[in-house]
Amino acid sequence: MDVLLQQLVNGLILGSLYALVALGYTMVYGILELINFAHGEIVMLGAMVSVTVLGLLVAAGVPVPLALAVALAAAVLVCMATGVLVERVAYRPLRNAPRLAPLITAIGVSIVLQNLAMIIWGRQYLSFPPVLAPHVYEWHGATVSNVQLLIVAVAALTMGALLLLVQRTRLGRAMRATAQHREVAGLMGVDVNRVIAATFAVGSALAAVAGLLIAAYYGIAHYNMGFLLGLKAFSAAVLGGIGNIPGALLGGLLLGVIESLGAGYIGDLTGGFLGSHYQDIFAFFILILVLVFRPSGLLGERVADRA
């Protein structure tokens, strides 16, 4: 029983990270119907920048909480700037182009960002400075570390803030309106270009937070870390219903739990035929199953109504 509990705990932590990244995907998709392949690289940038800044500050003797805050701020700024820049340069000119063109551009941007990171930071893996002394707590036989608790807390706070933004502010209302029908929103006085830029900025900020947390949790950052993560997060977003913010949350958490439980129990479930070597596709299996029976994802999609 404690194994099951531990797997659930692991899964929830992983899921929180996926959810943070999935939110960025889902917001951009809701407004532009674009799979922003480059989003995973933004997460990577967040991780790399925060690790670098933190390393510099800690070496200079700055107290840890302040260093963390500054590193976070730096990562958020860099990511927001990159996200907005990418949107302006690579996606905006293609807003009315056939659907596949921005997809290919997104892939191109992803490759460019990855290789720029490789040129700037080199091929070495960066390690997160050991500033958080690990404390392990026991709970009914499962172990949780303070870093893991921090991740869940920060993720929850961030998502709460996002929900507030989207539901209670003018910008949020404008975002929702643009996602529903871009032209009509424009007619209603919404500056569509600024709203889209803001969407990218918010999504990138979330990515930066996710990047910092991932680097802190696993201890490493590398220019190649973004792609696979982005893919899984996008699958999570689809699982929950693309364009749907609570859907991304649910999808992310669910994906994390499925991966953990899957890796832990596939072997037992299939009598040894499948094992943890199939853990990566376990999530895809579930996704396909869900989509076959609910083609719009678990909570239904929310993209622009046209008819």
Binding site: V112, F273, L287, I288, P295
Partner: protein, 375 residues
């Protein structure tokens, strides 16, 4: 295809025949020209380019003709390659001949196309993309792990020592004699691939101009209207998957025979994305464009290896490590081409007129109509 050459070629049959004859001569002489001018490794790259032309044309059927976004196309490539590898190597001790295995492999891939296409029929646009992506990964991971309980694929070690293509008992991987001329392995494979590529092009052209092709175009433009016109969208979508998969399986079998070694590392998601790039970059739905896209995307990263010597030639020393720049420039090329020519480098004339008609009001109308149609 009627924009390949200037107008007058289509009016005068002699000019047309002359042009085709010249093209034929060029194609036959190409490996020798490349070998002499650029080196044998470029003939090898040319062989891979032809392979990718076949694959790109297959994906073009799914994405370009029928409008189904497939991000897991490499799965069919892998199935074809492994089918050939398993049945023509020491893996199971079976050594079936090449001319039997290739169509069988294509057939098995076709089956997989139907299998993988079936669950996706109700999915729209980007859901389809992620599901096909999932299928691509599932196939790859199965191939990577099917070395227990029975060793079918030899897992991550891959299958080595695959039988080469044998014509009249002579292995095509070693130099062989043809009409008194000794040809190295790269050249003989070139001719083999060229023949098959021409066959694939022919089939693709016929498909495009047939009722099936027109039905696919209807589904691509507006599925609801197509259904309303009495088109069996379900069967035709499955057919698109199946045809695309067949060409993929064909390419896979040839790849296994050519390289002599297959491993799951050759069938990653990035490979699927590359093939998609070839189709979209070249001109989605337009066969000459797709061919061009395939050749460019295969050749460009290899050309970019010469950034190092180029820098040395221009600047006297190497400023930035070429390995660093290669993929960066490739990504930039993707972005730049899409920004300035989103319809692709060589789009179909119909598409080009849709996106750049002469009347500005028409532009706006067309764009809005396109926006609706794309959904």
């Amino acid at each position: 295809m009627n924009d390949l050459l200037p107008e007058r070629f289509y009016r005068d049959p002699r000019l047309a025949w002359g042009a085709y004859a010249a093209l034929a001569v060029l194609l036959v002489a190409l490996p020798f020209l490349v070998d002499a001018g650029m080196g044998r490794s470029w003939v090898r790259i040319l062989d891979f380019a032809l392979l990718y032309v076949m694959l790109a044309l297959g994906l073009n059927i799914v994405v370009g003709f029928a409008g189904l976004l497939d991000l897991g196309y490499v799965a069919f490539y892998a199935v074809g390659a492994y089918f050939y590898a398993i049945l023509a190597s020491p893996q199971l001790g079976i050594h079936l001949p090449f001319w039997a295995l290739l169509p069988l492999g294509a057939g098995v891939a076709c089956l997989f196309g139907v299998l993988l296409g079936a669950p996706t029929l109700r999915l729209r646009g980007d859901y389809l993309a992620i599901v096909t992506l999932g299928f691509g990964e599932i196939i790859r991971i199965f191939l990577n792990n099917l070395n227990a309980p029975i060793n079918l694929t030899n897992g991550p070690q891959g299958i080595n020592m695959i039988d080469p293509v044998r014509i009249a008992d002579a292995s095509l991987r070693r130099p062989t004699e043809w009409l008194g001329v000794t040809l190295p392995g790269t050249h003989t494979h070139y001719y083999l691939f060229l023949l098959l590529t021409l066959a694939v092009i022919f089939m693709a052209l016929r498909l495009q101009g047939s009722r099936i092709g027109r039905a696919w175009a209807a589904i691509r433009e507006d599925e609801v209207a197509a259904e309303a016109m009495g088109i069996n969208t379900r069967n035709l979508k499955l057919l698109a998957f199946a045809m695309g998969a067949t060409f993929g399986g064909l390419g896979g079998g040839l790849f296994a025979a050519f390289q002599g070694f297959v491993s799951p590392e050759s069938f990653t998601l990035m490979e699927s994305i590359m093939i998609l790039c070839m189709v979209v970059l070249g001109g989605m739905g337009h066969i000459p464009g797709v061919i061009l896209g395939a050749i460019l995307v295969t050749v460009l990263p290899e050309l970019l290896r010469y950034i190092g010597p180029l820098q040395e030639g221009l600047l006297g020393r190497v400023l930035v490590d070429p390995a660093d720049l290669r993929m960066l420039l490739f990504g930039l090329a993707l972005v730049v081409v899409m920004l300035f020519r989103p319809q692709g480098l060589w789009p179909s004339p119909v598409r080009a007129r849709e996106l750049h008609p002469d009347n500005p009001d028409l532009v706006r109308q067309e764009q809005e109509a396109l926006y609706d149609a794309e959904r």
